[in-house]
């Protein structure tokens, strides 16, 4: 059974319709990537799945449960966490405190969970007492991902994790996404870097104008001439 099933989702901001009858599925333990031109509604799709936008039509199911219209703090408890593209850390809090905030809904010690995140991102362990606002873009992205992993989510939503990072760091972040996935967490991500994300993804959706255009296995789309022409730069 699919972990996340979006069917016929239509939504937008105010009067403006951004997503039109979007359909997508994420199977447990898989990496699913959404690519598409600017303004296609990729980030909007993530926000709608996470409850930051109310669906106008259609359904969003997490496991068997309908989550369309639930608020983010309820969705977090069900096992889905989200890393926004920008402003995704608490700048005046230390790395450690950022992680603790990711586990706010849990009572009791979060020490073990923090250590697990530090195992995944050894660089954060060295800087656990540093304020997140004083860190580089790549380190912040790690803090943000670490925060979202504190609840042991079944599904992690990543909105452009590589945006604005130097090429070396982009590789590092993609490597970390692979590691996270290898630990059993399904990942749904939006990426500008279409080629890299298709290489990583088990399945990918191409969004155009708020609707599905093409979808298929990541490697198949990499070889698809139309996708290549439109989004991979020839």
């Amino acid at each position: 059974m699919a972990l996340l099933t979006v069917e016929g989702l239509t939504t937008g901001y105010g009067e403006m319709e951004v997503l039109r009858s979007l359909t997508l599925r994420v199977e447990p333990g898989r990496i699913v990537s959404i690519i598409g031109p600017n303004g296609a509604g990729k980030s909007t799709a993530m926000k709608a799945v996470f409850g930051l936008l109310k669906p106008w039509q259609g359904s969003i199911r997490f496991g068997e449960r309908e989550i369309g219209g639930l608020s983010p703090d309820r969705i977090v408890r069900l096992g889905m966490c989200y890393v926004p593209q920008t402003d995704n850390v608490f700048p005046s809090l230390t790395v450690e405190e950022n992680l603790e905030m990711g586990a706010f809904v849990l009572s009791g010690s979060t020490k073990e969970r923090k250590e697990r995140v530090f195992d995944l991102f050894p660089r954060l362990a060295e800087r656990r007492r540093q304020r997140a606002g004083k860190m580089s873009g790549g380190e912040r992205q790690m803090v943000a991902m670490g925060r979202a992993l504190m609840l042991d989510p079944k599904l992690l939503l990543l909105d452009e994790p590589s945006a604005g990072l130097a090429p070396l760091l982009v590789d590092l972040i993609f490597e970390k996404v692979r590691d996270i996935n290898a630990s059993g967490v399904a990942v749904l991500m939006v990426e500008q870097n279409a080629r890299k994300s298709l290489e990583l993804a088990d399945h990918a959706y191409v969004l155009v104008g708020g609707s599905n255009a093409i979808d298929g296995a990541g490697h198949d789309l990499l070889g698809d001439p139309e996708v290549g022409r439109l989004y991979l730069g020839g």
Partner: protein, 352 residues
């Protein structure tokens, strides 16, 4: 020549560099120090003794402690809720009058020498703090929560807070009238010599000690407790707090309880040091906002530093100015800060 080359190489223009230097933290601190030295010089020119100036500085630190109790709540409420809470000064007044009401109910005990107040005032302080906190939270439930749900802009929130201020003050006028009051009438409050000829009233030392204790407890709460960390997180980035699953309504409730509680304590202390009158807190709003902006809006420790600076400058100015001009002196400091470094001592350029 070298300057021209530097500019060609992409360096900042000299004027921009000058502006940045003027807007630096060091420059602001130097400017404030200069203001203080200027005040001392003015006072000295009028024959005020050094001992008296030192006494005033000590009293200024004490006044700064009172201001800090108000300013910290003001800055927390702004940080977490983005409400410029113009009712904060009146929450302080409300605390003072609640304590006065309590004193009329309780039998007056012996003063705790060398202080002018008895144990009953300490008991009332413990009762008044949560009551004022609850008043703040009630204001939030009745007014601000509805406005939040409609995503009201901050001007509307400021106007609503102003309405809350008028409401509170009217209740005080109705209940106690416009007369000046004292917690204890007819008790002498002599100043004693601290050291080196510095004279202060024992009450003032108590006030300073209490302010420091409360601020230390707040520090523990903000840095060690989960709710305190969540408050700082929400002040940093409210959207991310919600996304992370932080109970933002709980954070809001605690922010009002703590901010209001500190304001209540500050009001009682201010009344103990001076007198009660319905507009006492309202007149503190200028110094409070000056402290908050000086110490960078949203930064609780900054508010403490700002309040201490404002307190010392205010008290020092009374060496040669009528004390009634105190809020005006605080306002002058505010204007200096806004001109040279609007983000305050601890702010980053361009951001609050």
């Amino acid at each position: 020549m070298a300057r021209v080359l530097a500019r060609r190489a992409g360096g900042p223009r000299p004027s921009a560099r000058l502006r940045r230097a003027i807007g630096s933290r060091t420059a602001l601190v130097a400017l404030l120090a200069l203001v203080l030295v200027g005040l001392w010089w003015l006072a000295g020119a009028q024959g005020v003794t050094g001992q008296r100036l030192l006494s005033l500085a000590v009293r200024g630190v004490m006044l700064g402690g009172i201001l800090a109790l108000g300013a910290i709540g003001l800055t927390l409420i702004f940080g977490v809720l983005r409400i410029p809470n113009f009712a904060h000064g009146d929450l302080m007044t409300w605390g003072a009058y609640l304590a006065l009401f309590g004193l009329t109910l309780l039998p007056a005990g012996q003063p705790l020498a060398p202080f002018s107040f008895g144990a009953e005032l300490l008991l009332l302080l413990v009762l008044v703090m949560p009551l004022v906190g609850l008043t703040g939270y009630l204001l939030d439930r009745l007014v601000f929560r509805r406005l939040r749900a409609r995503r009201a802009p901050s001007v509307i929130l400021a106007m609503a807070a102003l309405g809350g201020a008028f409401l509170l003050r009217s209740v005080i006028y109705l209940g106690w009238g416009a007369d000046f009051r004292n917690f204890y009438t007819g008790r002498p409050r002599p100043a004693v010599e601290l050291f080196a000829g510095i004279r202060v009233r024992p009450d003032q030392l108590f006030i300073l000690g209490l302010a420091l204790l409360l601020i230390f407890l707040l520090y523990l709460l903000l840095e060690r407790s989960k709710m305190g960390k969540a408050m700082r997180a929400t002040a940093d980035n409210a959207d991310l707090a919600r996304i992370s699953g932080i109970d933002t309504e709980g954070v809001i409730r605690w922010t009002w309880l703590i901010g209001g509680g500190l304001a209540g304590a500050g009001g009682v202390m201010f009344a103990l040091d001076t007198q009660l009158r319905p507009e006492m807190g309202w007149w503190l709003m200028l110094p409070l906002f000056s402290s908050v902006i000086l110490g960078t809006i949203g930064n609780a420790y900054g508010a403490l530093v700002g309040a201490l600076i404002i307190g010392v400058v205010w008290q020092t100015s009374t060496a040669f100015l009528n004390p009634a001009y105190g809020p005006g002196v605080a306002f002058a400091v505010l204007i200096l800060v806004l001109l040279f470094r609007p983000q305050g001592i601890f702010g980053r350029p361009g951001g609050a």
